[in-house]
């Protein structure tokens, strides 16, 4: 019994040594512990997804309901899916377009009162998401807000408002990701490039941007994923009008609120499937390397 235990220990240890390229002298329980926690964590997520699928298919067998074909056939859901896709992609692109220069300024420039800017950048992270919607609604009641709407661009209870709310909620995450990759770039690479004859702007395009490519992609993926799942501030600021401002997370919420758990879960599973597909695509985009 003891020999079998010992053998199990050695075999497990050998497995982790082979698969983690364990460093000499490293405590074996560290690899074992970390591996076990990783298995438990990812296992829990897989079980949750599987449970949803089992629920959907068992319920389908009992009631004959075809949740998946229902949601694909529904023009409201199809519209919401399309709205979710383009608004989340647009807000993700906008978030990156703002995140890169802002992160560059925070990381490289000597700005007076930098901690204040740093804190303001993070504020949308700290705020409960629903408050972002309320804040936007309040802002567009002010003279400035009304003036902006007066220019012809409708935000309140309009698709543009979805993009604005998503952008506000997700851009700090994109900015933080881009900034941490910028901070990790050795500024000496930029310095040497300047001595080689490149101007500061050229160094930014030819050295800094390629160096933070993975950070930008990772920031974009985070922003997009968060924007896809956002619904609280959108309901407050853009409303939930069908075929106008209803996005998929709002559909899930509305379906749940009237007790249609199956439809809500079917929408969720479709979203998860496409999000996973997109993540794989992004990973290919950064050359099979880890995104973050």
């Amino acid at each position: 019994m003891q020999a079998a235990g010992c053998r199990f220990y050695l075999e497990t240890r050998y497995f982790f040594m082979m698969h983690s390229l364990r460093r000499v002298g490293q405590w074996p329980w560290v690899s074992l512990g970390a591996g076990a926690i990783l298995f438990a964590y990812t296992g829990f997520i897989a079980i949750l997804l599987a449970a949803n699928l089992i629920y959907l298919f068992s319920d389908m067998a009992d009631t004959g309901a075809t949740y998946f074909s229902d949601i694909f056939r529904s023009p409201d859901i199809r519209y919401a899916a399309w709205l979710t896709l383009w608004t989340s992609l647009l807000s993700c692109v906008l978030a990156i377009l703002f995140a890169v220069p802002c992160a560059y300024a925070l990381s490289r420039l000597r700005i007076p009162a930098k901690p204040l800017f740093d804190m303001l950048v993070d504020t949308p992270i700290i705020l409960p998401k629903i408050v972002v919607g309320v804040t936007l609604l309040v802002f567009f009641q002010t003279a400035m807000g009304r003036g902006i709407q007066g220019l012809g661009l409708q935000f309140v209870f309009a698709p543009a408002g979805i993009v604005l709310a998503q952008f506000l909620c997700v851009s700090p995450y994109a900015l933080r990701t881009v900034k941490s990759s910028l901070d990790a770039v050795d500024t000496r690479l930029e310095d040497v490039s300047r001595t080689l004859g490149w101007s500061s702007a050229q160094v930014f395009w030819r050295v800094t941007l390629p160096m933070i490519r993975n950070g930008i992609v990772a920031g974009g993926v985070i922003a997009w994923a968060l924007a896809m799942g956002l619904y609280g501030p959108l309901m407050v600021f853009a409303g939930t009008t069908r075929q106008m401002t209803e996005v998929l997370p709002t559909s899930i919420y509305l379906e749940l609120s009237v007790g249609r758990i199956g439809t809500a879960l079917a929408i969720t599973m479709v979203m998860v499937f496409f999000a996973m597909l997109a993540l794989l695509l992004f990973k290919r985009l950064v050359g099979g390397q880890s995104l973050w």
């Binding site: 050795d186 310095d191 001595t195 490149w198 050295v207 160096m211």
Partner: protein
């Protein structure tokens, strides 16, 4: 007025970087000279060369390169080849692309880039690495690639920041030889930062010794070795010919004593002092060499004598106590033997704490 023969001229430079400050830094480097900036870690050597390269803006003072005032000029305009301590090779470019990077900035044509690359590859013997990425190079290879990248733009001045400090002994020796060879081939002005005396002596035409953001002394190695400006310079260079003694008042001025024997008249105030003994005019013998008007004869006992390859030299018992590496390579004097050391009084150089 800028010296027309000077390739680099730094006048009264002052620069603040965090808590650290460079101050009153002035020196000139002649065209084609191998200039060594020597000093302990953290004395401001890198900050100084970064200012020369244009990566730091000075608070005051001027920097001239090849007669042009470059103090506030963009680094891109200075044509300085810079090899930083960590080499800073672009990780997403191959060796070939790294070396061509500076040439592309200068709008060099593709044919010319190819010719220049081939010349660099041949000069530094790195042709076999051209398609590799920096992550797959050894320390010595990275060093040569960084050197190639800096040389590719045909710089007027080549700045090397501790190029040999991260390399093992044999690679270091090989690269020292290569640098010396390159310097004589290219006729470019080299500025080389280091903290090892041996490296400085092997390579440098001129040395500048830095401490706490200031240049303590600069000049030819022989001049600095025979007349160090202060005890810090002497200690940093590990001068083997430093004798501890004392300055005492005498009837006609002050007198420097070693082992209680008067050695030389001096203007230095009374108290402990160190004498730099001139090695080129020093003799050691087991028989008394005879008194001579302008010379001192000191009697010492041999405490250590090695003619082998490991730390060859002589060390004495008394205050003289110094080690003479390699000056008497074939001596047969036993340990404990009494010897006479003779040197001219006028050649001794005194230092105080």
């Amino acid at each position: 007025m800028v010296n027309p023969d000077a390739m680099v001229s730094v006048e009264d430079l002052a620069l603040q970087a965090g808590e650290f400050r460079l101050r009153n830094v002035s020196f000139t480097i002649a065209r084609g000279e191998y200039f060594i900036l020597l000093g302990p870690t953290g004395c401001g050597k890198t900050l100084l060369v970064e200012a020369i390269c244009g990566l730091n803006t000075p608070e005051s003072g001027r920097i001239h390169i090849d007669g042009r005032d470059v103090t506030f000029m963009d680094p891109a305009q200075r044509r300085i080849g810079y090899v930083p301590q960590d080499y800073a090779l672009l990780p997403f470019k191959t060796v070939e692309q790294n070396i061509a990077f500076g040439l592309e900035a200068h709008k060099t044509g593709s044919k010319e880039i190819k010719e220049r690359l081939d010349a660099i590859f041949e000069m530094l013997d790195i042709g076999h690495l051209r398609k590799r990425f920096p992550a797959r190079l050894s320390g010595g290879e990275r060093q040569r690639v960084a050197l190639g990248r800096a040389l590719a733009i045909n710089p007027g001045v080549l700045v090397l920041d501790e190029p040999l400090s991260a390399l093992d002994e044999s690679t270091c020796k090989e690269l020292m030889g290569r640098l010396k060879e390159l310097h004589s081939q290219l006729n470019t002005t080299f500025i080389h930062i280091c903290h090892r005396v041996e490296e400085a002596l092997t390579l440098g035409d001129t040395l500048a010794i830095m401490r706490d953001g200031q240049i303590e002394q600069s000049g030819a190695p022989s001049e600095i070795f025979s007349r160090p400006k202060n005890l810090f310079v002497a200690d940093f260079l590990q001068l083997p010919n430093l004798a501890k003694g004392e300055v005492k008042a005498a009837s006609n001025g002050n007198m420097f004593h070693i082992n209680g024997a008067p050695v030389a008249e001096t203007q230095v105030p009374e108290g402990p002092a160190y004498g730099v003994i001139p090695l080129d005019s020093l003799t050691v013998s087991t028989h008394h060499p005879g008194e001579d008007e302008g010379c001192v004869v000191l009697t010492e006992r041999i405490a250590y004598n090695s003619t082998g390859p490991h730390e060859p030299g002589l060390r004495f018992d008394g205050e003289l106590g110094f080690l003479l590496p390699g000056i008497f390579p074939k001596n047969q004097w036993p340990i404990g033997a009494e010897v006479y050391i003779k040197f001219p009084r006028s050649a001794i150089h005194l230092l105080q704490e």
